[in-house]
């Protein structure tokens, strides 16, 4: 076996190794000081060791030996490289090493950047002093290991003492001591406490993502000294807490409701995503301990005590992008979401080569790859018996059965075909380059040799070699021979094989090779012959024992061979797994047919909003033995690696996973309290959401390039307490939000000098001398807007809906569809977490397209209308303004704001003619003039106002209603007599009216129109059939009752052609003399204003657009 290509040179857990050179030195000095003088050793530790590690060992270390030289041990450095010694002890001047670093000769080292004079001097001195090297350091670690050993994030979490502070009176919670002691050290003062209204608003948003409900707001005025604690308690108990923090976890989980790009044959929406989302909400609301929260997401399938819905937790693993079904990319995504999501380790970097910055070798990546590669997906109905009615369930069963039948038949077909072609697949092993990896997609027919089987055979043969499978001993022995000398050496090999016992070489194979083969091709033929024979023998045995089919062949040697064809690990067998795992085992046509059937099942489930499904992972019965893909190339396989945990965390006692895939063991290792990362990572995430920035500013990268935490001890204190107190997130929230630190004002210290000092010393506020204001996310903004108008539907859970579809759903944004392939541009514009990637922290950009959204998007305009409407019942303008402020900002307007608001309302009102009161008495619709009854039948309002006209839809003619249209001047009848254009006047009270009207038809083509004036009570009052004419249609005097209608009806002549007309009508109350008692069809027609924002709506929009609404202090 080859040496694993990559191995950490420090095998002990890094936090347990002695990271500090000074300690090494102390150890050395106590025991070894007789061997060399102190100065020389001190020089080694302080100067030489860092130079060798940081500047030399990358090219001259364990991994690479440029010029044959290694400098990581005394022995190696003294030995020198390919061109001889580099170091003459005691004689720096004669040492090539010194010449090289001085860049005196041809050789200039290090090649990239020369050493400093100080470093050169140190090396010179060290060599002259005898090149002392402590015996306790037989081998220098690599630069990364060396650095990792001292890296803060890999040190064990210890609970530090709470520091003492001068202003003890400021302290409410332990975290205040950590924050304040730092501020005091820097000579900075914290900010005073924010006012109550601000605190309530801040709390409500940070805990629930919503503006405070009135009952929470009221606490601000309470005389209860515990008002703040009460608010925290109520908000944490609110189900909206779980929704809000779920969204934050969904960013981590790269949540989406769709699979991303898939081929047309496949359903592109997930069946199960939303059940995962609901599971996260519920778990957070129940304050499920975080360790269990993670455990279930990684391995819920392996828990006996889980609740049925807990399987939904595994959505974390299964709802990533689909990468066109290419396994290595799907698994890569899972490794990334797990390692960065839970431990802030960028393991994905090690896919192609050892991590450049962190102690994560490629081998570790493939150890985890093996874990996930040993798992298969499985759809699990969570409420199979109760979802939908019997008809739905029976249709589902039918579709599932169709899929099952076809899948079983296809599996058998292809397994049999592959067994019949063993020779072809064995031959393919000698020309593997012809069989590209998945991702190089080809169209296949039933006659083709499929690459997936070729690769399975490749793996099978590799494992046979590793495990010493007697069936293939001969194969591998011959395969080792070169083509040129094959014939010569084959005789020897054959002799040896024939001498071997049956544990080493399968006797039937040995027998087939009795005559030495002349070429490897001949070896393949012999094997093919053996398998063909065994296959035939087995088939005939089965055929002759139909009643009681045998389970094996009696002859052990034959049975051994039969298992290669039919055994559980047989490379010929299409695995018994869903199509998502097996699509490449079929020809293209079969594959598409299977996906279509799978799609029919999926779509049927999706069509039922009650049907809840989980997509779980389960361990495969046969686990895979991972191998490194060299440079990430899956067909270029390197060393075998065990499935095991990361070296940097598992340490010296690392053992391969032994239970199934190892997924549960992986999960256990992640949540092990000794794991230095997991607790630190989550408390940092929570901290970052409360304060706008983490103690560690890179929440998903705690590697060597992560900054030191701003408050290292605080991070550890939180992490340690968090674990000690049962991994409770709600407790963690309390520690934070109940602190004085969190209650500070955002304005900074009241004292101007103190503020200026703080701004200068810590402009980024990393030390928390104030609270940084927070901008609402898009989701928070939208929810707040709905809350302001009272429209917010607070129902929990369920299927997602399209937030941007006209009619605009009123549920929280959490329940909006996240379609990763067609993410609405509005979401992207507002920095929504890209659902393709694990997003530890959202960007926050300000671009004018966002402003355009606020100004012009129908979703905002709808809400603006609704908000204005919600204050419509207030009687005075002042009350309306006050109510608008209350609903949006939870405060009263200032005097200036009141005056400015009223001024705006007034200005709009004076500039714009208000629609006359009489306008309300007109309706615009279509229907039929019933010639027998002399009445109008089926009056229906026209659905769409296009600014100048009422009509069937935005397009005219409308697809359904055709040409029917009414304008201020006249209109156009519909395509037939069932679609007459009808302008309807409704009497608001009983009175006697007169009607004056003039009807004009002008167009030359066609045959003109018919017109009727019809009372709902009295029937037909007048009519005309005109073509290029003008007529008056008047009613002299008519007593009407309240609610009676007078219809002005126009329909087509004998055919539809150029039927537009003008018809102005005035209805007047004969008794009244004022203007208000006359209704004029033209004056009363909406002047392109019906959809225009009213003054109050405009004001409401300003309130929603303002920064006060969008920012939280």
């Amino acid at each position: 076996m080859t040496r694993p290509e990559t191995q950490l040179d420090g095998i002990r857990p890094l936090w347990a190794t002695i990271g500090c050179p000074l300690i090494c030195l102390a150890v050395y000095l106590s025991g070894q000081s007789a061997l060399a003088d102190d100065e020389s050793l001190r020089l080694f530790e302080n100067e030489i060791r860092p130079i060798l590690i940081e500047r030399c060992s990358r090219c001259h270390g364990a991994k690479k030996q440029e010029g044959g030289l290694r400098v990581d041990s005394r022995k190696a450095i003294l030995k020198g490289g390919d061109s001889g010694g580099v170091l003459v002890v005691g004689k720096a001047a004669g040492s090539r090493m010194i010449q090289a670093v001085r860049r005196e000769g041809e050789l200039k080292m290090p090649p990239d950047k020369k050493l400093s004079d100080r470093e050169v001097a140190a090396l010179t001195k060290w060599i002259n002093l005898g090149a002392a090297w402590p015996e306790t350091v037989p081998l220098l670690p690599s630069a990364i290991t060396n650095r990792a050993a001292g890296h803060w994030a890999f040190q064990p979490v210890r609970q530090p003492d709470v520091p003492a502070v001068k202003s003890a009176g400021w302290v409410r919670k332990p975290i205040d001591c950590f924050v304040l002691s730092k501020l005091e050290k820097m000579g900075l003062s914290p900010s005073p406490e924010a006012d109550r209204r601000t605190l309530i608003r801040r709390l409500a948003y940070t805990l629930t993502g919503l503006p405070p409900a009135p009952e929470i707001t009221r606490l601000a005025g309470s005389s209860d000294p515990n008002w703040y604690q009460q608010a925290v308690g109520r908000l944490l108990d609110s189900p909206h807490y779980g929704e809000h923090w779920a969204r934050r976890w969904l960013d981590v989980a790269r949540y989406a409701d769709s699979k991303g790009y898939v081929y047309g044959r496949e359903e592109r929406f997930w069946v199960h995503a939303w059940t995962y989302r609901d599971w996260v909400v519920r778990s957070l609301n129940e304050d499920m301990p975080y360790n269990r929260f993670l455990l279930l997401q990684l391995a819920a399938d392996q828990f006996e005590d889980r609740r049925p819905d807990d399987l939904a937790a595994m959505g974390l693993l299964t709802l990533g992008r689909r990468f066109l079904g290419v396994k290595r990319d799907i698994l890569d995504d899972r490794i990334d979401v797990v390692c960065r999501g839970t431990m802030a380790l960028t393991v994905g970097c090690a896919r192609c080569h050892d991590h450049k910055y962190d102690p994560i070798p490629t081998a570790d990546y493939y150890s985890l790859y093996g874990v996930f590669d040993s798992c298969a997906e499985r759809f699990v109905p969570l409420n199979a018996d109760t979802a939908g009615d019997e008809a739905w369930r029976s249709e589902l069963r039918k579709r599932q059965e169709n899929l099952r039948t076809k899948l079983a038949a296809s599996r058998k077909e292809w397994s049999d075909r592959t067994r019949d072609r063993v020779g072809d697949y064995l031959r393919a092993q000698t020309e593997l380059h012809k069989y590209p990896a998945a991702g190089f997609d080809q169209v296949f027919f039933k006659t083709d040799v499929l690459p997936v089987f070729v690769r399975r055979w490749e793996d099978y043969l590799h494992n046979a070699k590793r495990g010493g499978d007697p069936v293939f001993t001969a194969w591998h022995a011959y395969a080792a021979l070169s083509a040129e000398s094959f014939e010569k050496e084959a005789a020897d090999v054959t002799r040896q094989l024939l001498r071997s016992d049956k544990e080493t070489v399968n006797p039937i194979v040995a027998d087939a090779l009795r005559a030495p083969p002349a070429s490897f091709a001949e070896v393949i033929d012999r094997y093919a012959g053996v398998f063909a024979h065994i296959n035939a023998r087995w088939k005939s045995l089965l055929a002759s024992n139909k009643a009681k089919p045998p389970s094996q062949l009696a002859d052990p040697a034959a049975e051994q061979l039969r298992r290669v064809l039919y055994g559980a690990e047989a490379p010929c067998e299409v695995p018994d797994e869903p199509i998502v795992h097996t699509e490449r085992f079929f020809d293209t046509e079969t594959c598409e047919a299977l996906w279509k059937l799978q799609g029919e099942v999926d779509r049927w489930i999706i069509s039922n909003p009650q049907a809840r499904y989980a997509l779980a992972l389960v361990d495969r019965p046969i686990v895979t033995h991972p191998r490194i893909f060299r440079r990430g190339n899956s067909v270029d396989k390197g060393a075998d690696v065990p499935r095991q945990f990361l070296a940097v965390l598992a340490g010296r006692d690392r053992k391969p996973f032994s239970r199934g895939s190892g997924r549960l063991e992986l999960a256990e290792a992640i949540i092990d309290p000794a794991n230095p990362l997991t607790a630190r990572v989550i408390v940092n995430r929570v901290w970052a959401h409360h304060f706008g920035r983490g103690l560690v500013p890179t929440p998903s990268d705690f590697g060597l390039r992560a900054d030191q935490p701003s408050h290292s001890e605080l991070l550890d204190w939180l992490a340690a307490r968090f674990v000690a107190e049962g991994w409770s997130l709600k407790k963690l929230h309390r520690w934070i939000v109940l602190s004085t630190t969190f209650r500070q004002s955002s304005a900074g210290p009241a004292d101007a000098d103190a503020r200026a000092r703080a701004l200068k010393a810590d402009p980024e506020n990393r030390l928390l001398w104030r609270i940084s204001p927070r901008r609402l996310t898009f989701e928070e903004f939208r929810d707040s807007m709905l809350a302001a108008s009272g429209d917010l539907d607070r129902t929990l859970g369920g299927k997602p809906a399209d937030l941007f579809k006209q009619g605009f759903p009123k549920r929280r944004s959490l329940y909006g569809v996240v379609d990763r392939q067609f993410l609405p541009s509005t979401l992207r514009m507002f920095d929504f977490a890209n659902p393709d990637l694990h997003v530890p922290r959202r960007s926050e950009t300000t671009v004018p397209q966002q402003a355009l959204f606020f100004m012009n998007h129908p979703l905002v305009l709808d809400q603006v209308r609704s908000l204005a409407k919600s204050v419509g019942t207030k009687s005075t303008p002042e009350e309306k303004v006050a109510a608008l402020f209350q609903q949006t900002y939870r405060r009263q307007p200032t005097g200036a704001e009141m005056a400015e608001s009223l001024e705006m309302i007034r200005a709009i009102a004076t500039e714009r003619p208000t629609p006359p009161a009489t306008a309300a008495d007109w309706q615009y619709g279509y229907g039929t003039f019933d010639e027998t009854a002399k009445r109008v039948a089926g009056f229906t309002r026209l659905p769409h106002f296009a600014g100048q006209a009422w009509q069937g839809g935005p397009k005219w003619p409308d697809a359904k209603l055709g040409w029917v249209q009414l304008t201020g001047d006249g209109g156009h009848p519909g395509n037939d007599r069932k679609h007459a254009a009808i302008r309807r006047w409704r009497a608001p009270r009983a009175m006697t009216i007169a009607v004056r009207s003039q009807l004009v038809h002008q167009a030359d083509p066609g045959d003109g129109i018919r017109a009727f004036v019809v009372s709902s009570r009295a029937g037909l009052l007048g009519s005309a059939k005109i073509y290029k004419q003008t007529v008056d249609l008047n009613v002299k005097a008519l007593a009407v009752e309240a609610g009676e209608t007078i219809d002005f009806v126009v329909d087509v002549g004998d055919d539809l052609n150029s039927d537009q007309y003008l018809w102005e009508a005035t209805v007047s109350d004969m008794k009244a003399s004022n203007e208000a008692a006359a209704w004029n069809s033209k004056m009363d027609f909406p002047q392109g204003t019906s959809r225009q924002l009213s003054p109050w709506e405009q004001l409401a929009q300003v309130l929603l657009c303002a920064n006060e609404f969008l920012f939280v202090d």
Binding site: R705, E764, S772, F822, T846, P848, F854, V1102
Partner: protein, 474 residues
């Protein structure tokens, strides 16, 4: 958050300085942080995400227009003449490379090649008008990709990685250089009639902030409201909206007064920009403002229209425009290639030639980089149907294909690299997509090894760990 400023009223100069399309905030800077500072060698600390930025070194090109012939145009029928195909017509090639589908015998080009310009480079009749500009064009005949499938190859061509979600070239360029447009998106992708295969992934921002994502425009439409989202305000009159914004500005200013937050200013000004955009964007898309002879030059079809719009956008400072041929993958001519290629090229040849003429007469060709190409080329052998009979088309070919570049510092009249005798595989100077990207970035003044962004523990580049600037064509 890191959003403190010593607040003072914004002067007009401040406004101008910050008023590139996107207004930066220190909030964003928190995200970009070190990454942004590393980017483009520019100090972004006080700038917006889309503000114009200095390149690493003096740029030859300021903007890019990319004709994407999605589906894969056949190189042996356009810019890579292969007389051997006629000579060996109907014969089987030995050692045919694996492609997506099965192909049969050698399939000669049904199109005639002629020499053009002083350089005498041969181009087929399909692009006869474009060919008249050949002395401004550098043809790379030795491109290669990794797999013969559309999706990964589209990703490779656009984002430099065929598998993982990575930022597109336009997004990188916007990140590196910002945009000079005050009122328009900095990166525009137009495709008439719907999205190309792989949808908006082709112009994705991936881990870069969403601001850098390409803005998609369905150029089939002519109404402005369908071209740019939220640009029109049919429900409120302009004077009313102005009054709203005045009140808003007053309230926002008051709100800002006792707060230490840079983002508040940014947001205040974004409203002013948006207000202006409503008018000026309209103008940019209004082709009726072009003289008749220019409209005539481009032609009246959808491609003429979208190309002319593209020119108007580039003229107004848009950094990167991608013009796709149409929804799906129109150039994917597995069958009846002759008819299909003729029709498709017929739609494009005139607009492309018009653009080159037009850019040149405006002096814009010097600093506008034009790229033409698909995600791969096509096989020199004929595709076989399910019954094993030829179907008069060509299969995908990622082993060798052509793209061409013009303007923006490109040495015209150049041919770089070559495929084998039949055009199957890049043989001489094989050129990776990374090389192409490195070269384009170079012309834009960006060092492809220095334009990086820290994500998930790595400093990512458009060219990953590859890429060589093709000095021979610049």
């Amino acid at each position: 958050m890191e959003n403190l400023v010593c607040r003072r009223p914004l002067s007009r100069r401040d406004v101008l300085r910050r008023s590139a399309l996107g207004l930066g905030t220190l909030g964003l800077m928190g995200v970009l942080g070190d990454d942004a500072r590393r980017a483009a060698g520019a100090d972004l600390s006080a700038r917006g995400p889309l503000d114009g930025r200095e390149p690493h070194f003096p740029a030859r090109a300021k903007r890019v227009i990319h004709f994407f012939l999605n589906g894969g145009p056949s190189h042996v029928d356009t810019f890579d003449p292969k007389p051997a195909l006629a000579k060996h017509a109907g014969k089987r090639l030995s050692g045919t490379l694996a492609t997506e589908r099965k192909t049969g015998a050698v399939f000669p080009s049904p199109f005639k090649f002629r020499q053009y310009g002083e350089s005498g480079i041969e181009v087929s009749d399909l692009f006869a008008r474009t060919a008249r500009h050949i002395d401004d064009i550098a043809v790379i005949r030795s491109m290669y990709a990794h797999v013969p499938n559309h999706e990964p190859s589209l990703m490779l061509m656009n984002c430099g990685d065929s598998k993982q979600p990575r930022p597109s070239m336009g997004a990188w360029v916007l990140y590196g250089l910002g945009t000079e447009s005050q009122n328009l998106p900095g990166f525009v992708a137009m495709c008439p009639g719907g999205l190309p295969t792989k949808d908006s992934e082709n112009w994705q921002a991936a881990f870069l902030p969403g601001t850098y994502q390409g803005t998609y425009i369905d150029s089939k439409h002519q109404e402005l409201s369908r071209l740019i989202e939220n640009i029109e305000h049919p429900q409120i009159s302009t004077p009313d909206q102005r009054r709203q914004l005045d009140l808003l500005a007053r309230w926002n200013a008051r709100h800002r007064d006792d707060r230490l937050d840079h983002r508040l200013d940014a947001r205040i000004h974004s409203y002013e920009l948006a207000f202006r955009m409503q008018h000026e964007a309209k103008e940019a898309f209004d082709l009726s403002r072009e003289p008749a002879h220019i409209r005539e030059l481009y032609g009246s079809g959808v491609h003429g229209r979208q190309t002319l719009i593209a020119r108007r956008l580039l003229e107004r400072g848009v950094r990167y425009v991608q013009l796709w041929h149409g929804a799906g993958q129109p150039w994917d001519n597995h069958e009846r290639l002759e008819d299909n290629h003729r029709r498709l090229a017929g739609e494009l040849d005139r607009p492309i030639a018009a653009l080159l003429t037009d850019l040149k007469q405006r002096g814009m060709l010097d600093d506008t980089l034009v790229l033409w190409g698909g995600e791969f080329g096509r096989t020199p052998t004929v595709e076989l149907g399910g019954d094993g009979n030829p179907i008069h088309g060509r299969d995908h070919n990622h082993y060798g294909f052509s793209v061409w570049l013009a303007g923006g510092g490109i040495r015209g009249g150049t041919v770089y690299g070559a495929t084998d005798e039949f055009g199957f595989k890049a043989e001489q100077n094989p050129t990776s997509v990374h090389d192409l990207h490195a070269t384009m970035l170079h012309l834009l003044g960006l060092d492809h090894e220095r334009l990086t962004y820290r994500y998930a523990g790595r400093d990512f580049r458009l060219t990953d760990v590859h890429g060589r600037v093709i000095k021979e064509i610049i």
